[in-house]
């Protein structure tokens, strides 16, 4: 297997940039990593109910309050905030990206680095209910049904519900779903499985289970370069290693660890001031001991 998978986010980069600017304001992060991550997703078709109050014809508006019409902003920002939380979590081997078409649909890929599913690269899609955050928990569906007790062998859907019986706003976040999705491949649970065969094999014949898993991992890998299941400009697309493109990008990623910061810096070369000694709450407590020469 080629260890250097390359990911690209589809062809519509340019559009994404403009959109990012429009919505994200001065969001000038590294184009490499961030344009994919930080774009403010749009609201999908099925979000209609939320927009409804905005309809100007309703005379109820005056009584209902303007703020009802800001609904879409709340949803978009909530999801963007969720996404920010995901970024903060830095889940190892898990990458997600909201779709271009809908903020309620996130594309993702998970890299399993050890254990039974080692070398597994599983693409998936997260579906967030449109009444988020008050609805059910998000659904997570693998593009290909991985052989796993908790993954539906037909639909590829992961049994998320068992971990989030009731989705509680403020307490439950999408990063938790992703973390859970990663965890199931390291710690296998066989109770009330969606794939009974896998569960039974795991319990009764681990060897066979293992070989089935290996097959499943191979199958997934062999389909890695397929066109994404859902056509979307921000869908995650894998392509074979192309030194002309990827060598340089890889080089950049490995060498310029600090780059993203500097790129921020470019757009805002502002620096605050502080003369407070760490741990102190007194102003000007940090006295320069030696003067710079």
């Amino acid at each position: 297997m080629n260890p250097f998978w390359s990911m690209s986010t589809g062809s519509v980069r340019k559009r994404s940039d403009t959109e990012e600017k429009t919505l994200g304001g001065e969001l000038r992060t590294s184009p490499l990593r961030a344009s994919a991550k930080k774009q403010l997703p749009s609201i999908p078709k099925n979000a209609v109910p939320i927009t409804k109050p905005a309809s100007p014809a309703t005379s109820s508006q005056s009584t209902n309050g303007t703020h009802a019409s800001y609904g879409p902003f709340y949803l978009e920002y909530s999801l963007l905030a969720e996404f920010t939380l995901v970024v903060k979590q830095k889940l190892p081997g898990v990458y997600v990206q909201p779709s271009y078409r809908s903020a309620l649909m996130w594309f993702g890929v998970i890299f399993i680095r050890s254990g039974l599913y080692q070398d597994g690269v599983f693409k998936f899609t997260v579906y967030i209910p449109d009444n988020y955050p008050d609805g059910d928990c998000p659904r997570l569906v693998f593009d290909l049904p991985v052989f796993h007790p908790l993954v539906d062998p037909i639909s590829g859907e992961l049994d998320v519900k068992r971990a989030f019986a009731k989705w509680r706003r403020n307490h439950n976040h999408i990063w938790q779903v992703l973390m859970y999705a990663r965890r199931v491949f390291y710690k296998i649970d066989t109770t009330s499985p969606l794939n009974p065969e896998a569960a039974v094999l795991y319990e009764k014949d681990v060897q066979l289970f293992k070989s089935k898993v290996v097959d499943s991992v191979k199958l997934c890998s062999s389909h890695l370069f397929d066109q994404p299941k859902i056509e979307d400009p921000y869908a995650i697309i894998f392509s074979p290693w192309n030194p002309a493109i990827h060598d340089e990008a890889r080089e950049k990623m490995l060498t310029q660890k600090k780059k993203p910061e500097e790129q921020h810096c470019k757009s805002m070369n502002v620096s605050g001031l502080s003369w407070v000694k760490p741990g102190s709450v007194q102003p000007f407590s940090k006295e320069e001991k030696t003067m710079p020469t």
Binding site: G25, E26, S42, I43, T51, E76, H264, V276, G279, V281
Partner: protein
């Protein structure tokens, strides 16, 4: 603000000087060196003949002969080159001094020295001095070889300089400075020469840098002379950076730093004491304002020079200068200036301080200024407290002070924020104990935003728009968003988002406006689809996206800037000094040892209510300050007016009574004085239920004067008072009005402001209740003992700054338009800070505060009520509101026509600045009031308001009423925009990139 950059200016000036002058000379002799030498010797022979005619007084003929010959000789010397010619040889002379033939001859004969001696023997008139200075200047500037390293040249030069040390006529000084400047340029080119200057002894005693000491007197001169002197000095300063000996000589043996710093004091004292402006929106000094005022220009030049010196000089010099600025200018001059008793002078000094803070770019210098502002005590009050208190005044002084704080906040300085706000929040005593951990919570579902938006007064919500022309029913978002098929919709470059948002933005508006260009690029000039006034006004209802973008930008900026801070201020780090609160004791807590908070509490606000000997128990309603005029502005507690408005039960009062009761019953009562049956105390609940409870709780906030009946009563009460007041012939005569009187025309107002100001907190604090402090400001802060007086220690206090801002906010309907611009801008600025302590205090509606702590939301809720009450009382409110919006948009558009966000920026304070095109410089000292574009437009737009009986020339009573109405109507507009801005900020906080803060 343009920051100072001296060096960039310097380089061209130093180089460019020469060219024009050389043309005025005779064309250089271009003969071969041998011939030149011969000619030179010839001249010298002639001079020598005169020189050697000893004893007798030189005849006038002799003088001119010497003059002419010397001129020729020095020209030849300037053209002289080392043997072998060629430019390459010139540089080779570093180690071994290679000289040209003429120079060799000059050295051998000690020719220059002898010449000078001859001059000195005779009657060395000023005229002749000037001549000599000019000759040397020419020689140095035009020489083809380094001359100064040769003693035979340098020695007479230094001798000449020492002769010119005494003050003299302008021409002499001009020549002197020019020569000195030239010397500095040469020295800068060849630092080795500097040593020679050191070692050569002159009549001036131990040779410190004579060039230098000669230049110092010109530091503060105006015009070209001063500029040349400063440039020259700066070159030396730059040299000092790499030469400790020079630095030491500057600090130990020269008066450079003291002269420079105390010169600022002298210059400051000649600044106008009074800034005379008629424009009622003026609030800070822009460059255009001061560039026409020579004394201010002079001061700024010197300040700029200080800044430049600190930028380039050796740390030794830097430190000395900074210290002198602090002790020789800020403390003795700026301090008292800020405390002058006349309002005019306070306005001027505050505006000056603001200007200085904006202009200084060097961190070390800025630090000194900030240190002065934050820590220096004048009459026992820190400058900061004084300035904070002035926000409370009801005048231009308030605006100028707000501007100053805008500047301070824009520095993103941890020390400033610590002193202003954070240290009061650090103990977390303002929140319920159980809520402490919620400080870091982010509101990711936009609840806060929803809350803020819900406070938009009903009367300001978008009118139901005319029925849309025709709306495509089905999946409108995509179709519309992508290609904008609308016939006349211009291909908007920016809102090309496919998101539903863009659609929403347009959809929410009236159909005709849909054709208008989206806000961002601004209405295309001359476009036929330019929206009509009604549409423009309607734009205000749809500019939320702009606010979101701005909020994102501001927060990102701020978060990025604050990465240099020492701590995250998240409730954990740093810890507040002093003991942690005892979890068993109810909200009240024992008076801690000198935490900043306890110390601070004693300061301004509470002191006003101190009753000698009277116990000031926590259960005493704050309204009960005996004898205190409830409206004197001194009774702000945590942003709440301690005094209840008559006829209106005040939340705080009730709450405090409740506080003695068991906690379970008390804590919930914050917003609901009527004590509706309450569920569990929120404090003990896990978060989710707190949420729901709070929602209920907060739902009551807007209804704070409980029951409509009461608030209407209040309102009529207010009305009656105002009427009474107007019958008294206007504003001044009614000090006891329970409501802040509407702003009278400025002149009155400022006097009144002064009156109210003198009653203000810091005045009290300054009466010497505290023992005199030791001079070291730092020690004071650390060691100041807890005050024996002040508010009960159990009462959390969020600091005077927050108090004053909240108090002023609460008064929004009575504030002038411009005060509200600045005020809301400042609060928004504050809200952009990412520190969880501050963010949660201002923006987290889930937090349960201690009952006595007023939240921003509560304050805004009360403003909302006031506006709604006003609207209800004003029949033509919708019309007035529409006109006000129109006016504000027109005003914003005047100078923003091309700029983006004309509408979104409506309530931003920089719009205020920009909408004032005419230079204040001309206005500043003359009492002229030129009709300007902006004002003209304003008058036009205001016509509408005036038609409603608001003519400025109406009799006082009517005028007061007009002002009241106008302020309230403007306030309604600003307030609504402000809420949108806050909502956007609240939302943007949740999505701040983790990369910014990590």
């Amino acid at each position: 603000m343009e920051r100072m950059s001296w060096l960039s200016k310097l380089t061209p000036r130093a180089g460019g000087q020469r060219a024009p002058r050389s043309t005025s000379l005779q064309p250089p002799v271009t003969a071969d060196p041998e011939t030149c030498l011969m000619v030179f010797k010839n001249h010298w022979a002639q001079v020598l003949r005169i020189l050697e005619r000893r004893g007798s007084k030189p005849a006038p003929d002799d003088l001119s002969a010497v003059r002419n010959n010397t001129y020729q000789m020095l020209n030849l010397l300037a053209e002289d080159r080392p043997w072998g010619d060629g430019d390459k040889d010139r540089s080779q002379g570093d180690g071994d001094v290679a000289c040209g033939p003429i120079l060799e001859f000059v050295a051998a004969e000690n020719l220059l020295e002898r010449l000078l001696c001859w001059h000195l023997q005779g009657d060395f008139t000023e005229e002749r001095k000037v001549e000599q200075l000019k000759l040397y200047e020419m020689l140095i500037s035009q020489a083809r070889q380094p001359l100064l390293r040769h003693k035979p040249v340098l020695a007479p030069l230094l001798r000449l300089l020492s002769v010119c040390a005494e003050p003299a006529s302008a021409p002499l000084e001009n020549s002197l400075v020019l020569l000195l400047n030239q010397l500095c340029v040469s020295v800068a080119r060849e630092p080795a020469i500097l040593e020679l200057f050191f070692h050569s002894h002159t009549d001036q005693g131990p040779a410190n840098l004579i060039i230098f000491s000669l230049l110092i007197p010109f530091i503060h001169h105006e015009g070209a002379r001063g500029q040349q002197a400063r440039d020259a000095l700066l070159l030396i300063m730059a040299m000092s950076a790499s030469n400790r000996a020079v630095a030491q000589s500057i600090t130990d043996n020269s008066y450079f730093c003291p002269v420079l710093a105390t010169g600022l004091s002298a210059l400051y004292s000649s600044l106008p004491r009074k800034i005379e402006v008629r424009g009622d929106d003026w609030h800070f000094l822009r460059r255009e304002d001061w560039i026409g005022v020579s004394s201010l220009v002079l001061f700024m030049n010197s300040l700029e020079f200080c800044n430049a010196v600190i930028q380039v000089a050796h740390p030794l010099v830097q430190k000395q200068l900074v210290d002198y600025v602090h002790n020789g200018f800020l403390v003795p001059v700026m301090g008292p200036a800020l405390h002058k008793t006349s309002v005019e002078e306070m306005i001027a000094s505050t505006a000056y301080l603001d200007l200085f803070l904006r202009s200084v770019s060097e961190t070390a210098l800025l630090k000194t200024f900030l240190r002065f502002v934050l820590l220096h005590r004048h009459d026992n009050t820190t400058i900061l407290d004084t300035l904070v208190g002035r926000i409370n005044s009801n005048s231009r002084l308030c605006m100028v002070s707000l501007s100053l704080f805008r500047t301070l906040l824009s520095l993103n300085c941890e020390d400033v924020m610590l002193q202003l706000v954070l240290r009061y929040l650090l103990p977390c005593s303002h929140v319920m104990l159980s809520q402490k951990r919620a400080v870091r919570d982010l509101d990711i579902y936009g609840k806060t935003a929803a809350k803020f938006l819900s406070l938009i007064p009903r009367c300001c919500r978008p009118e139901s728009p005319p029925p849309p022309r025709e709306r495509d029913e089905e999946p409108p978002s995509r179709a519309r968003g992508h290609g904008s098929p609308g016939a006349d919709a211009p291909p908007a470059p920016k809102p090309s988002t496919p998101s539903r948002l863009s659609f929403f933005m347009r959809q929410a508006s009236a159909a005709p406006a849909e054709a208008a260009a989206p806000r961002s690029p601004g209405p295309p000039a001359g476009s036929p689809s330019r929206p009509g006034p009604r549409d423009e006004v309607a734009e205000l209802d749809r500019n939320y996206l702009e606010y979101l973008r701005d909020a994102r930008h501001s927060i990102d900026r701020c978060a990025w800037a604050c990465r240099v801070w020492s701590a995250p201020y998240d409730g954990e780090d740093p810890r507040a000094p002093g003991p942690t609160p005892d979890p068993d004791s109810p909200p009240g807590r024992p008076p801690g040892p000198p935490t900043p908070r306890t110390k601070k509490r004693g300061l301004p606000e509470e002191g006003a209510r101190e009753v000698p000997g009277g116990p000031l128990g926590s259960d005493e309603p704050s309204a009960g300050g005996p004898g205190a005029d409830p409206r004197d502005g001194g009774t702000l507690v945590n942003g709440a007016h301690g005094a209840a408005e008559p006829g209106r039960p005040e939340g705080d009062v009730v709450v405090k009574k409740v506080r003695r009761s068991p906690q379970g019953e008390g804590e919930g009562g914050g917003g609901a004085p009527n004590g509706a049956p309450r569920a569990q105390p929120p404090g003990w609940e896990p978060l989710p239920s707190v949420d729901s409870l709070l929602e209920e709780l907060l739902a009551r906030v807007p209804a704070e004067p409980p029951g409509a009946g009461v608030s209407i009563e209040t309102f009529t009460e207010e009305l009656r008072e105002i009427e009474a007041e107007m019958q008294n012939g206007g504003v001044g005569g009614a000090p006891a009005t329970p409501t802040e009187p509407p702003e009278p025309p400025l002149s009155h107002e400022e006097e009144e402001a002064f009156a109210s100001f003198t009653a203000l907190p810091e005045g009290d604090a300054g009466t010497g209740r505290a023992p005199p402090r030791p001079p070291d400001p730092l020690a004071q802060v650390v060691a100041s003992p807890p005050r024996a007086v002040g508010p009960p220690p159990s009462q959390p206090f969020t600091g005077p700054f927050v108090s004053v801002l909240f108090g002023k906010l609460e008064n929004m309907p009575h504030n002038s338009l411009y005060v509200n611009f600045l005020l809301t801008g400042l609060v928004a600025q504050l809200a952009c800070y990412p520190q969880p302590l501050l963010r949660s205090f201002l923006l987290n509606t889930n937090m349960v505060f201690q009952p006595s702590v007023k939240s921003l939301l509560q304050v805004l809720g009360s403003v909302k009520n006031k506006i709604e009450n006003f609207a209800a009382s004003q029949e033509d409110f919708p019309a007035l509101l529409f006109k006000a919006k129109k006016y504000l948009i027109a005003r914003g558009r005047l100078d923003w026509a091309e700029g983006p966000g004309a509408v979104a920026a409506l309530r931003r304070s920089d719009t205020l600045a920009r909408s004032r095109k005419p230079s204040l410089g001309e206005l500043l000292l003359r009492h002229a009031n030129s009709p300007t574009r902006a004002r003209h437009a304003a008058q036009l737009a205001l016509q509408g308001l005036r038609d409603g009986g608001l003519h400025p020339l109406a009799p006082p009573a009517r005028h007061g009423e007009a002002l009241r109405v106008r302020n309230a109507v403007y306030c309604a507009v600003i307030f609504s925009e402000f809420l949108k801005e806050l909502a956007a900020i609240a939302q943007a906080h949740a999505v701040t990139s983790p990369f910014l803060t990590e």
